[in-house]
């Protein structure tokens, strides 16, 4: 599955996207745990519940199951307009 990062999330991950190929997380909560291990700084932002998640370009707020072909995006509150 492909993970995309936007705005200041990229400063934490040092990349704007990456692909997780094997033993992929089964759902969003597992993905968060997986990413917390790689990027410990993400943990506090996950805990504060300020970030937004999109699966295949749609907002998700529940613990959706993930498929290997999904594109998951993680980003801070938006500021367009």
């Amino acid at each position: 599955m492909r993970i995309r990062y936007f705005a200041w999330i990229k400063d934490i991950t040092n990349k704007d996207n990456e692909t997780i190929d094997i033993n992929h997380p089964k759902n969003l909560e597992e993905l968060k745990e997986y990413l917390e291990n790689i990027y410990p700084e993400l943990k506090k932002h996950f805990l504060q519940d300020i970030l937004r998640f999109a699966v295949n370009q749609e907002y998700v707020s529940e613990n959706l199951n993930l498929k290997p072909i999904d594109e998951i995006a993680i980003f801070p509150p938006v500021s367009g307009g």
Partner: protein, 138 residues
């Protein structure tokens, strides 16, 4: 119509392109957002505007569709820029075309409110000494 683009746009030309398709339009409400010279009490040099383009198209289409369900609209136009934007440059245009003015006013404000809340754009505002990622207040 939804356009997500780096380059500037001309209000008269963009609006006429839509208006030319219809003769029953009586009312048009348009909103334009500009880069201001001062924000958070700091002098702004420029913005770097980031977008999640594929999602922005989907999200703006949803917002447009909701506006069409709620009001009697003939057409809508949303242009949102990204990339480096200097002070005084246009950031966004939302235009709502209808027969009667109330529909165009209400739909335009609705689209702007939801665009600000949900459309995946991020402003990285550069001041003279530092920079900051902005967040829209909800």
């Amino acid at each position: 119509m939804i356009k997500i683009q780096k380059k500037d746009f001309n209000l008269e030309e963009e609006i006429e392109k839509i208006k030319n398709n219809y003769s029953d339009i009586g009312a048009l409400t348009s909103f334009v957002g500009y880069v201001r010279d001062l924000n958070k009490k700091k002098d702004v040099k420029y913005l770097n505007l980031e977008v999640y383009k594929e999602m922005a198209f989907k999200e703006l289409s949803k917002i447009e569709n909701n506006a069409f369900k709620k009001w009697e609209l003939i057409d809508t136009l949303i242009i949102h820029r990204y990339g480096k934007l200097n002070v005084n440059e246009k950031i966004v245009l939302v235009s709502c075309f209808s027969q009667h003015r109330k529909d165009s006013f209400d739909a335009c404000e609705f689209i702007m409110d939801y665009l600000k809340r949900d459309a995946p754009f991020w402003k990285n505002e550069f001041y003279y000494k530092d920079n900051e990622w902005l967040e829209n207040s909800s």
